[in-house]
Amino acid sequence: MKTGTPASGIRFSISSVLPWLLLVALIFLPSAGLGTNLIRLFFLTLVWIVTSVAWNLVGGFAGQVSFGFAVFYGVGAYTGALLMNQGVSPYAAMAGAAAMASIASLIVGAPTFRLRGPYFVIATIGVNEAVRVLMSNLAITGGASGLRLREHGPYRQVEHYYTALGAAAIAIAISAVIARSRFGLALRAIRQDEDAAADVGVNAYVCKLYVHAIAAALTGMAGAIFARYAAYINPQGVFAFNTSISILLMPVIGGIGTIWGPVLGGVVFGAIEEQLVANFPNIHLLLYGGLLMLIVLVEPDGLVGLFHRIVRRRGSDSRSKGIDKVLWGRSRLEGREL
């Protein structure tokens, strides 16, 4: 690797320019004369990417695996929908949705972040079930029969697309900033060893609440964007456990704890969701489950890990193992004190 310095210098600059190129390409995409169906696919994928990146902040960076992100998605969707029905402008409604989802995240997080590891995971499943039950019974949400949006003005698909693109850009930017910040470092410390993190002065509980609130705000915003597009939401849809699964699955596919892994996962998931599931609706759980098991057993670092493994074939997969050790709990060697 001695001769690799200039090459890695070039690679660094490529990897810093690539996101901007991608953004520009996506901005000019609608003017390329794509069909409405393709734009719709891009729109949905972008919304998924927002949630995926948001989940990764909590599940990847901080290592707190949550099965309950549908709660924030749903809260955002309902808040956005209710505000828009009151005549609030869509973007203000999205901000309101983000704020409401943050508040919900504090209510959920305050007790559950006292729990660790599997306790936290199971608690989030419980939260998801409890909230869905609650929402199906409340009057303000229209109960189980759902809620219809009454937005005035013409329907412009491109506007929805740009909204989602902006949200995805914001989410990725936040993710990148956090990854490079002291806060991100604290989250990594929490993921690796919460007690050790506390020993060096990280307030794990507060850090987890913060990052949870940020992630919930992004997820809530995505929910509102989706609600505005779909114009109809119901508790069995946005609060469904399946929504939580989808949000969790994307970062896992792409590679959790990385900046671009969740994005990649979102793209792959969007394609799977739209193409495979649309064509084979009765085996979508089989697809998701099989994919999940395959990733866990074959490449726990997801597509990003696979990429690293291919790129660094010569140096075996030492980096991949390192990520494996950090992310997937104690590795084969660690944890064997004897």
Binding site: T112, P118, F241, L286, L291, M293, L297, L327, S331, G335
Partner: protein, 298 residues
């Protein structure tokens, strides 16, 4: 106003419920204890157990109670196969890992999908001549079926406890639970015992699912509400002992049953979760943390 008879009826209902809850949670405890895997596929195994009983009843007219006991060996083998096929490939750990969680979760999704493809998504139930029969003891009414299910659950748990206490397999299991490294040094075959423990846990999940099929209607999503409950129970019970599970099941059943007096039925699913959070906040080591020493000594 609650009369003494009402109170007694509720108490008996709680006890019956506790029996079922116990049977459905012991499997999870065994697997968690030996392998430190939170088996999210537990709900899937329960669902399969329910359909197993259903198929036996429909095709061969075998009583679901008998079907439940037939489920034990079948699901034992099924669980061993799953362990051989999937679980043993997980990285070893003495703590629950994300990979184990996601693997079992993925498998649960696959099981659900297989069930959807096989049986469709309509709710099914098993109706036998004694489904609605009751025993009347003065003002107290007991559903015969619930009593039978309760008895089956208690008997099976007692047998499990006997196996864990008396047999060589049980001793190995307990050794692995207490100290996996020391157990392996003394010659316990970790892989073999894990495989059998996974089989045992699966067997009890299938058994409990078959028992539940006599009381509730079921569909491929059957078991999710019970998954959170099972986890609450094993947390309450200290995660790794049969008496602990019995205790946790009793606590949850009593709380759920008597909460009917205060909480609208629509919000019932939230109770087990609330109990979990409250208990973990008040007693971070679970209720059993308080009593663990007692049991260890016993």
């Amino acid at each position: 106003m609650m009369t003494a008879a009402d109170f007694l009826n509720l108490l008996i209902a709680a006890l019956m419920l506790a029996g079922i809850y116990g049977a459905m949670s012991v499997g999870m405890t065994v697997i968690y204890g030996v392998m430190k895997i939170v088996n999210l596929a537990h709900a899937g195994f329960m669902m399969m157990g329910a359909y197993f009983a259903y198929e036996l009843f429909q095709r061969f007219n075998i009583d679901p109670l008998f079907g439940a006991f037939l489920a034990l060996p079948v699901f034992f083998l099924f669980g061993m196969a799953i362990h051989w096929l999937l679980v043993r490939r997980l990285p070893k750990s003495d703590q629950p890992t994300l990979s184990s969680l996601l693997l079992m979760f993925g498998f649960w999704l696959v099981l659900q999908n297989v069930a959807y493809l096989t049986w469709g998504n309509t709710d099914m139930s098993i109706l036998t001549p004694h489904t609605l029969s009751v025993i009347n003891l003065g003002p107290i009414t007991i559903s015969t079926l619930r009593l039978v299910v309760f008895a089956a659950a208690v008997v099976s748990m007692a047998i499990l406890q006997l196996i864990l206490n008396r047999s060589w397999f049980g001793k190995s299991v307990r050794a692995l639970i207490q100290n996996p490294y020391a157990a392996q040094i003394t010659g316990v075959d970790d892989q073999k015992i894990s495989r059998m423990a996974f089989g045992l846990g699966t067997a009890f999940a299938g058994f409990a699912g078959a028992l539940l099929s006599m009381l509730y209607s079921f569909n491929p999503d059957f078991g999710r509400p019970f998954l959170v409950r099972s986890f609450v129970i094993i947390v309450l019970g200290g995660l790794e002992s049969v008496p602990g599970v019995a205790f946790g099941a009793l606590v949850l059943a009593v709380v759920e049953t008597f909460s009917i007096l205060a909480v609208p039925a629509g919000y019932q699913p939230a109770i087990s979760f609330a109990l979990l959070v409250v208990v973990l906040l008040l007693f971070p080591r679970g209720l059993a943390g308080l009593m663990q020493k007692k049991w260890r000594a016993a």
